[in-house]
């Protein structure tokens, strides 16, 4: 039987920064699973934090889309923050 790596052997976790048009305010942090929600200036909001994997990232983007907020940018930040990679 082949050895299957356990899920903790590797991680797809990564930090992302999502910038959206519209001012949300930090009260939305709970809605976005505890990520940081801050004012990005110029009427934008920046959501940052670790997401478990790509599926979680797309779930997050769907939440943004669900509020009808235009997306400005999505960027992966500082891959060094993932200690296991």
């Amino acid at each position: 039987m082949a050895h299957h790596p356990t899920p903790t052997d590797r991680s797809d976790e990564a930090a992302y920064e999502i910038r959206i048009s519209g001012m949300l305010g930090s009260r939305w942090a709970g809605w976005f699973d505890g990520l940081t929600v801050r004012d990005g200036g110029d009427g934008t909001t920046v959501i940052t934090g670790l997401v478990a994997d790509q599926a979680a990232l797309f779930g997050l983007l769907q939440r943004v889309h669900g509020l009808g907020l235009p997306l400005i940018s999505v960027a992966r930040i500082d891959p060094g923050t993932n200690p296991r990679s």
């Binding site: 039987m1 939305w28 709970g30 669900g66 907020l69």
Partner: protein, 902 residues
Amino acid sequence: MPAPLIETKLFAPVRREGTVARSRLIAMLERGARSKVTLVSAPPGFGKSTLLADWLGVARAEGRALGWVSLDGSDNDAASFWMYLVAALQRAIPDAEALTEGGDPRPGPTDVATAIVNALAGVPSQTVLVLDDYHVIEEPAIHEGVSFLIDHLPSNVHVVIATRADPPLPLARLRARGELVEIRAGDLRFSQDEAAAYLNGPMALGLHAPDIAALEGRTEGWIAALQLAALSMTGRADAATFIADFAGDDRYIVDYLVEEVLERQPPRVREFLLQTSILGRLTGTLCDAVTGGSDGKATLDALDRANLFLIALDDRRRWYRYHHLFGDVLQARLLDEQPEVVAALHDRASAWFERNGDLPEAVGHALAASNVERAADLIEVAAHDLRVNRQEQTLRRWLDVLPDAAFDDRPMLAMVHVGALLQTGETRHVEDRLEAAERWIAAARGEPERNAAIAAGMIVRRTDALSHLPSQIALHRAGLATFRGDVTGTIANARLALDAAEEGAPLERGAAAGILALAQWASGDLEAAHQSWSQSAASLAAAGHHADALGVSIGISDVERAQGRLHAARRTLERGLRIGTEAEPPLRGTADMHVGLAELDREANDLVGAAAHLAASLDLGEANGLPQNAYRQRVATARLRVAEGDLDAAVELLDEASRRYDGDFFPDVRPIAAVRARVQILQGRLDVARAWAEAAGIAATDEPTYLREFEHATLARLLVAEGSDAGVALSERLVAAAEAGQRSGSAVDILVVLALALHARGHEADALAALDRAIAIAEPEGFARVFLDEGPPMAALLTVAVRRPGASAYSRALLAGTTTGARVAEARRQPLIEQLSDRELEVLRLLASDLDGPEIARELYVSVNTLRTHTKNIFAKLGVNSRRAAVSRATELGLLGNRARR
């Protein structure tokens, strides 16, 4: 019991009083109704559902049939999705009786879609099917099925997809063909005129043009925002001040406005809105359960009257949901203001759904509450119905999020997880779960033991099923051993399961005997496998699982063929065919019986019979086949092509067969690659065949084993073709092994190559002796193609054989077979009374292919309906009443000429 339908999901919303008439968009939808698909794609709050409700009023007035499905996350399970889609169509078109899902255990993505296409083709009325909130669908198999449905849609049916994001369907193709009408955010935004019509019309706010322009500008025509703004202004004396503040604020528009609206509500209503925002659907008593109040119904009615973003889900206004956007904002506020109460609210909702018999919703809320105990209890109870309804994807999603500890004291739940894991071939976690269940195995013995276990912490919700625990554990252990290729472990555990299963548990016994048979077969003990399988078939039939019993018939006939008992194999398959076709619709697995009989007909050199059985198998459709049939049917067709001399077509079919390979736990005793290598040897492509042997890792010096017997016999053929000496020794060892294992079917295959090997080396007397031994086995059982497929070398040997005094009639018949070809050539030729048109001949050739109905229609660029007309005419002219008979008759008449191929 079939899964209960949530009726509200099938309820098409009705036009609300005070909706702004949008004639431009209605005209677009009408244009869409004349094409195939309309896509309404925009973020929430753009009035998608409202517009569709408005338009459906028009469509209804014109007598079009309407089906509506409001999709939600639970429809990400193909079984659930298609169940609702079929239910919506059944309500729309009650006379489309054929719209039923055949209770098929493992339908492929396009199977249900095919059935729907066929059923809709016969319906005369114009039909509109709306799939609302399609963006919740993520399951690729569902997209595949919907793409298929759209591709094959009859011209009287029109699909409308409302979604927040463009779905992964072949939109570009539809666009290019002009079959898609799109209504997007830009189309849906309120123009300034529409904003004015709304604000000063139904909302009667009496606003001036500059105020309207300011509102329209700030909201960018986003309807939900305009509605919220209007609500905030209702009854306000200072509308102008409000507009100025609003226009000058840059906060998230909905947040700002919801705050405005909430501020104007009494605290009790405000609290009600926040607390009930966790619910996907709302009704009075559910709201009471969640809020702890008693005025849920009255509050919902009041919110409905105040137009506070409630959407009625039925025409008696019992069920509602919040507008998604409003609900999301409320929920975000709840999470921010009272994070500590959220879990308790979900718990109460879960309890309400449990009391009201909606276990899936109850599980969903329990998981949202992170209440593992509650979720685990509910899943254990819900598992049975979910499995019966094939909603295993849902079951897996739930089980996978439970922590490992949840299974430790729950043996029955652990077994549910093991079953779900093994079903998809996953073995990780299986061992842990089995060990967890084994710790409580004593509890199955009787009531005192059970009570002792419960006192020690065991949790079981379905105590009635506890007595099956030991046999289930053993059965799953056998299954796990099978996955690991551990034959000894499989046999030992399957025996345990068989012993542990009570007399009154025929299903368990049938399953255990089946696994035992597979392992015995894999270890080469054909007689034991035959016995176990016969026992399995009897138990499965006693349990009423006739389709599974057909699956067992395949195994029995395979073993019988290996034993050289072709007549017995024929009886097995014919009995299966009888049982399968007596049911209406035919049992799943009937197609497999035809494929097995086609193989037997082909071996007997009855190529017409083989072609007819293969056509009959295709006629039943892919959904009728058990998992193995997709590849077996192609292998059987390929071997028929070999017999007909079309080797290129055979290789092509074998390539396709290997892509469709699903052994369904059967030992792979005749690998497709080896079958293909034999064809390549016949083609003279010895280098390719040699590459196969290297890749397969077999050598002439290997010890013979049953599992690799067919491959070794193929290698022997290669050696003979290469002119090597080694073929003789290898064949002799293989014959000895086959005879020792009483595998006459294998023996005749190997004796043939031994005879050819000896003849090629110039040992004519020995060659003839080997040939005689082969014929001695072959004659009583009617083996023929095993000789004939060898072509000229066999013809040469047979020519020598028949010259001997006292040569058998059988050898003369075989020689005749090699020289005159298939029976096709001797077929009687009677002229048709009415000739077939060119188009009908084209259809006929496709009927002889392995395409199914909708595929043929696509190939010909006609509707399934038109195809039916052609088929009917062809049947009439040929004087037949089935595809199988038509192909058979056409073959006899030589109408197929150069055979149609894919």
